[in-house]
C-alpha cells in the first residue's frame, strides 16, 4: 500500500466491464513526509475520497479483485482509506483534522 494525494478524477466510458460504475481518481504518490514520489496513478475509489484528500492506496491485484468481488478482474490500484494523520518518529507529518494552512504555519514555527 502507498500514500497518495487525490489530484483529480478520470472519466472513462469505454472500459473493461469490471470498471463500470466505479469512480476513478488521479493519484499523486507520496513519501510519508508528503513529497511526490513515482509516477501518477489511477485508482478505483472505494473510500468515498475526493480531490484534496490524502489517501491510502492498495496496489496489488489479488486484494483488488477481492474488494471488487471478481476473481478475473484486470484491476490493481484501489483507494481503500482516507488518511486522518501520519506520524513518523514521533513527528506529526500530516493532520487532516486541522486545515492545511494552519498546519503549515504550525510546522514553520516548530521545526520537525
Amino acid at each position: 500500500m502507498f500514500l497518495a494525494d487525490v489530484i483529480g478524477t478520470v472519466v472513462s466510458s469505454v472500459q473493461i466491464p469490471i470498471l463500470d460504475g466505479e469512480k476513478l481518481l488521479l493519484l499523486r504518490p507520496l513519501t510519508p513526509e508528503g513529497r511526490p514520489r513515482g509516477t501518477t496513478r489511477i485508482g478505483i475509489d472505494r473510500a468515498q475520497a475526493g480531490e484534496g484528500d490524502r489517501v491510502l492506496v492498495l496496489d496489488e491485484g489479488n486484494g483488488a479483485r477481492q474488494i471488487l468481488g471478481d476473481p478475473k478482474g484486470a484491476v490493481k490500484t484501489i483507494v481503500i482509506g482516507v488518511v486522518d494523520y501520519i506520524e513518523t518518529e514521533s513527528v506529526l507529518r500530516y493532520d487532516h483534522r486541522r486545515s492545511e494552512r494552519s498546519f503549515g504555519e504550525r510546522s514553520e514555527r516548530s521545526p520537525a
Binding site: 466510458s13 509516477t39 490500484t77
Partner: protein, 94 residues
Amino acid sequence: MYLARVTGRVVASTRYPGLEGVALQWIQPLDESGAAAGAEIVACAAVSSGPGDLVHFVDGREAALACPETFVPVDAAIIGFVEQAVAAGRDLAE
C-alpha cells in the same frame, strides 16, 4: 493503473499461442500534467484504441486478465478509453 497516450501500433504476426487477435499498441505513460513519464511501452488493447487516444492501462499480472485468453505472457494492457482526466482544474484529454 496509469494514464497514457497511444502513440502507435505494433504488428507481430508470429506470437505466443493465446495472443492471436490481440491488438498491440505503443503507449507513452503520462504524469499529472500530461507530460511524458518514463519510457514508451507496448501494451495489448483490451478496449479498442488508436494513436492519439488518451487511455488508462494496468501493468503486471493483471494485464493478462484483460486479454481474451487470461494465461498469456503480457505485462501491460489498455483497459479504458479516457474521455476526461481533470487535474488542478485542467482536462488532460482536451
